[in-house]
Point group: D2
């Protein structure tokens, strides 16, 4: 079993990382770290708020042995004490601490701090595994033995999976999209206000649209041996927040380079990702994309847990009535599973087995 | 006071029509009609379901004198007994009965039955009042003394208001849009299931997208003296249902013919509709469009009641990062006020005062 | 017009106080005060958060002239500059500042700071107006020219109105109750978390049950000339939070001293408060209690606005199957209108007209 | 493996029964039956509504082999073709068909048809397993080889589990309760209206309170050898519907015969059900009652899935301030698992292993 540390363990993403690692066949959590405030406490106590109420937000019960682990101070954490570091810190702390850890140890990160570095790939399971080779460039550039491998923005996690088979078969020319995003993406302390979200929609998520409009081109780009050449298409997005717990929906209008029918798109999506599924990574689903013919689907509450929260559900694939080579569809992905800790874990599994060859 | 009949009075739109007419300075409800099932009962009793519970769904109290009115059978209704007919029947009944009424009496309709007839305008307050002249063509064609004047689909009621000043100033070339629609649009008997809508989004509304993709071009078209020449732009839409009571939001990506900045768009929207407002129709708002600079707005729950539910709120006007001459924005309109009974009433007020000159 | 100051004007209760005073026939807001942080800014700017987004949470638009008023520092506020002070500060600030204001000026308070003082009544419109005479004792005891008159806890505002006619006619022996409380009662900064409240119930509201279990006995107590002798009955409560915006519901199981039937209870409730209504105070409803026969009512969303948010709706009055002289019913009151600013305003109106005789 | 038929298989409870039997170690679904309308179709097709959309409402995917099974006509079903019948029909059909099946075959029923028969126990896992002996009386009385064993009303499923250890240790004298019930209890076709439940509470559930006020006394009663002598305490209830998907909460005020402290109650609840848990029935949880010290719990969304939806969570145990020997607490149970199909399955497991000795 490889030893894993969760850094930022008390936050909601850290908690989800813990849950996604319960009973994992390869990885064992041996260290937890967080900010100085939590350091020295056992994990269960570190989760208590001032009233003594637990801030453990996952539905799954906190495993006894994890609850009893002592939380270390992230800023003083010794990265050589584990095999893999799972960083779920916020962007500021990540920017400062991840490079220190990466000197010696592979860092899988849910933070955005390194996403836009030219020597850093944004890996998405089954989409751009060849980009992993860029990590060697990162190591060489920075003199690291480890690396930092960040996950993408949660909103586009499902979109890029749905775009990849279209890109491969027909080419992507342009994407116009509106997202209807779940509230869990805004975190928990304090997260969104109930009075704002009840029976309401908020049509703005600070900082979201620029990420959504630029990350997919890198993820779907071409690795040249030295760097990644961004894919040559534009995205324009409006990102909204809807009163849904989990599950980000994207209404996409895609123009392809070559013409294609809805049936063509369905076929390439359903066929997509077989090779990756055959790697049988513990967190990977059997089906990367599930295309539904029910026009009322996908729905967040009904479809988000498909494939253990790792399958993207696509529905309503239609020919666009006005856009040239236009296809429109709706896709849904679990933002705190595929789009966060579990998606990062899937990447970790790939890197450990197929890139680092530690398994 | 002009005498008004509400046909389809027991339905939710009929109820909203009643509420919008309480205390009206020009119109007095003198007749109520509905299906045979309700005929002969007083209105209060006609609203009771089998358990005796009232199906009066408006927040406003049912006026005593309306509750006591006897409901007539719509199919046997004498249109000459009133000055104006307000038809809130469903499309099937409207198709059959509205022509009978229109032989003698002006019919303002919330149904879609006549929207797509070439001799029938789809009037929207402040947007296309010159199209009212097409009603004379309709009368001539059909040998009617009255007419049928239908309101547009509720989803585009706000969109066309927001598009009109853009069209006038810069020309509209193309619209890509996603709607996030309130549940009240689906009616009440039984309407949407709570188990479907709670903490969820349903990405499909049967029959909605074709209407959304074709009505605006007629509404924003040019009246030639004989008919309406559709405006020359395309719309592609995805229509979704969100857990909101009232207020349809549209995320629009608009390409204009002439280039324009977000500031230009804000200016033409804020300046828009002054002439119409100066008609001082009882149901018209002082401001047809309110542009907000708060990026978190418009929100359905916070903005839908603006201007008595008749003002369209537009926010997040931005330059599109990829579309040529592209502007993106979010607009919100009250679907059961501007988009339904009260919007139809505003049209009735215009027609009565400025077209029929009865006031 | 009497000059009113709103102290604590930037908070949600202060905002609701402003809204309830728009167009008031007797009172004019001439001063606004808040904490040092807001002092010196005009009100509109004082409401802006760091991102520039407005924290005006009421559906009603902020009146232009109020938005332009300069906010003063509450701790340096000159109480002699107004005729009446409306204090909507939190309990801590109220405890410190209300006595300073009361030296010279009547203070109507929504805070709990003075509720439990033996020389201070908790006035509820139409319920215990004779307790107003205790304010003279307060003035004498403390050497004040003004006074502090606090409103009750929002949860029992509706309950005590419903209990008063029962107490008068049959005597109240014991109350067992569960409340289902709206989220607006928890305020707005930050208020409740959307992730906690969505599709959920939270069965605890810190500090609520002790207030609910003791205030009604004082409110329904007997004024002896010197103090108030608490009514002689016990209350036990469980207070829960439900995903509702406004409107606190109480499921009550009441045992009376004398036996009574549900019809008796309905009658005394419907007859109740006629004298008070005849005072025609601007914020009072025509009907203090509305008893509904529809078993599915009262419902928060449908009934909270009745009587301008000042009418208590009671339903489901039934004979209790096991409790001696037991009656059970459900009552609903608007927690941020009757239970907060507008309820306090109604008390202010009574005091100004009938106690101070200023009108 | 024992052969099981699900009768009423297309309904929501039938679907939940199917889900609870997936991968069951003792039982295999070999037959599905429903009304005539579905008969002859394969199960997947029988679930389709007129638009072709699937009415499979469970989050778990419909197993391939179940989807392919042919649905039989319940009224012509041959009960001797299976070992156990799982009846999830509505009360009307159950009253007619369950006696026919029971002539030859044990029937586990989620319907209320037989609950109030004097020769029929209402079995609740871990609470009254000795009542199973009444089934022999039923068989003798009616000349049946099989029997009908109904589950209790879903609202009291959690309550009776929480009351049993109190009754055993201290005696129960009286219960006053308010329930906050989830929407799934109202079924799906059409179930509750979204417009009624959004941001609202409905304080009435037709037919619920009489069941809640009478079933617990039978369940907690004493089996005399011939019949059950009801437990000697009264219950009074108000049942409300809240906008929650799953999980019925009960706010209980319990008076005991002997005095006890909250700590006493916690102890007997935590110790309760060890014997039953040691039977290791496949659907039984390790802990029948989990008592939480977190005052904000139990919450429906956070606690309903505990123990596979079969553990009752109790919180907020407090000494009542006014009731003699009074204890108040909040309890939560999963209404469609413990309170419906899975609870019935647990009873079936007990009967098959410990009463029928078929395993």
């Amino acid at each position: 079993m490889l030893r894993i540390a969760i850094i930022g363990a008390t936050g909601i993403v850290g908690q989800q990382a813990i849950v996604s690692l319960i009973g994992h066949p390869w990885f064992k959590i041996t260290k937890l770290a967080a900010s100085e405030r939590s350091a020295g406490k056992n994990y269960r106590d570190a989760l208590k708020d001032v009233s003594g109420s637990s801030r453990w937000w996952c539905m799954e019960e906190l495993p006894e042995e994890i609850g009893n682990m002592q939380v270390e101070d992230a800023s003083a954490f010794d990265p050589t004490s584990v095999d893999i570091i799972f960083s779920t810190m916020d962007a500021g702390a990540a920017k400062e601490l991840e490079p220190k850890y990466a000197k010696t140890t592979p860092v899988i990160s849910t933070a955005s701090a390194f996403r836009y570095e030219s020597d850093t790939p944004i890996l998405v399971g089954g989409v751009n595994m060849d980009h992993a080779a860029l990590l060697a460039v990162q190591q060489k550039n920075r003199g690291w033995k480890g690396f930092v491998s960040p996950k993408p923005n949660c909103t586009i996690s499902g979109l890029v999976v749905s775009l990849k088979p279209i890109q491969d078969a027909f080419g992507v020319k342009q994407v116009v999209m509106t997202s209807l995003q779940a509230m869990s993406g805004a975190g928990r302390t304090p997260g969104l206000s109930a009075m704002d979200m009840m029976e309401n929609v908020v049509p703005y998520i600070p900082g979201e649209e620029p990420k959504v409009e630029t990350e997919p081109q890198k993820i779907l780009g071409k690795f040249t041996g030295e760097t990644i050449q961004d894919a040559n298409f534009g995205i324009t997005a409006t990102c909204t927040r809807v009163p849904v717990i989990d599950g980000h929906m994207v209404c996409a209008f895609v123009q392809t380079v070559k013409p294609c029918t809805p049936e063509d798109v369905k076929k390439v999506m359903m066929d997509y990702g077989k090779d990756f599924a055959e790697l049988h990574l513990p967190s990977s689903p059997a089906q990367l994309i599930d295309v539904t013919d029910d026009p009322f689907r996908p729905q967040p509450r009904m479809d988000r847990e498909k494939g253990g929260g790792m399958t993207v559900t696509v529905g309503r694939i239609r020919k666009d009535p006005i856009l040239e080579n236009g296809i429109k569809y709706v896709c849904l992905a679990h933002n705190t599973k595929l789009g966060a800790a579990k998606g990062a874990l899937q990447t970790a599994e790939y890197l450990v087995k197929n890139y680092l060859k530690l398994i």
